[in-house]
Amino acid sequence: MNVSVNGAYIYFYIPIFGGIPVTQTTLSLLLVTVFLSITGYFLGRNLQKRPGKLQVLVEKAVTMLRTLVVETMGEHNVAWTPFIGTLFLSSICGSLISMLGFFRSTTADLSVTLTWALMVSAIIWYNSIKRNGFLGWLKGFTEPVAVMTPMNLISEVAQPVSMAFRHFGNVAGGGVITSILYTALSAASTILIGLISGTWIVPAVVLALGAGLFFLGKKRKKTALWIIGIVLAVLGLLGLLEFSGLLTGVPILEFGIPAVLSLYFDLFSGFIQAFVFSLLSMVYISGACPPPEETTA
């Protein structure tokens, strides 16, 4: 019973530059990009004065994003809204695409989150170089006192690394934990069925007990009772089938539990990580682009 935990599966290599691997992540990244650009195009196509229902919804979302950017980065940085919105949406859709079953979430691959983090750092370096010149930027590292230079350099490197690893670790870690639990549950369900299918008597008794509880629960209108009845009846039936060899290895325990887990890992922590990533990028970028009147003073 070994857990198969592996990185993105490589489909094929593009033969230029020594073979560029096209992996699952590339596929889902392409899908997310195409999906977002198509929806973006159709949502923004015919904007009327008197907006329809859909346009009101989209306007509400865009305004919320805009106020968030203005609150965090200040009025003068409002031009960053599209960038932050793209980062946020592609991160959410990237994490949630794995819930469609076949695809692997894009953010579960370090190359994606590290690229985004390096993009944000490049924006920061470009802006601070543009604002106070290359030497000014270098001098910035010895800011409070010269002895702080190594610390400033480390923190400059640590910024993108920590942002990339946080997002990647959460999404990928969630995926690994779900797959480990999935394997454990499949083993548990085979053990469970095997336990009761030693002889044909035990599953028959369990089946009878289940049926009895089911009718009792129905009559007494106690939902908990007849649910347990159903569970026992199904278990007994599977035991009988297992014993007779008709239908073996039915994974019953794996049915509901991983879905609840992926609800937390994929949905909740995917959303939180997307929000944290964009908010931190906003904070870092606004640090590198102060309000215009401040620079002239």
């Binding site: 935990v5 920590s162 690893f165 946080r166 670790g169 870690g173 939180i272 929000f275 944290v276 908010l279």
Partner: protein, 80 residues
């Protein structure tokens, strides 16, 4: 034989790595949530801003925990 020792060491290492790595974020997030709850109790109308900032603070505090999680996975599944 060496392979078995390596696998055993990996398992122990990953366990310790994740165990110790979980102490810091656990305490940090506990403090953050308790302070946020105090704030919410004192000023209920600020609940929404407090909640978002609390969630963000917890997510950022979790970073070191996630580092140790990633390292534990690398140890467990990366080395064969």
């Amino acid at each position: 034989m060496e392979h078995a020792i390596i696998k055993a060491a990996c398992a122990i290492g990953a366990g310790i790595c994740m165990g110790i790595g979980a102490i810091g974020p656990g305490i940090g997030e506990g403090i953050a949530v308790s302070k946020a709850l105090e704030g919410m109790a004192r000023q209920p109308e600020a609940t929404s801003t407090l909640r978002t900032n609390m969630l963000l603070g917890c997510a950022v505090a979790e970073t070191t925990g996630i580092y140790s999680l990633v390292i534990a996975f690398v140890i467990m599944f990366g080395i064969n």
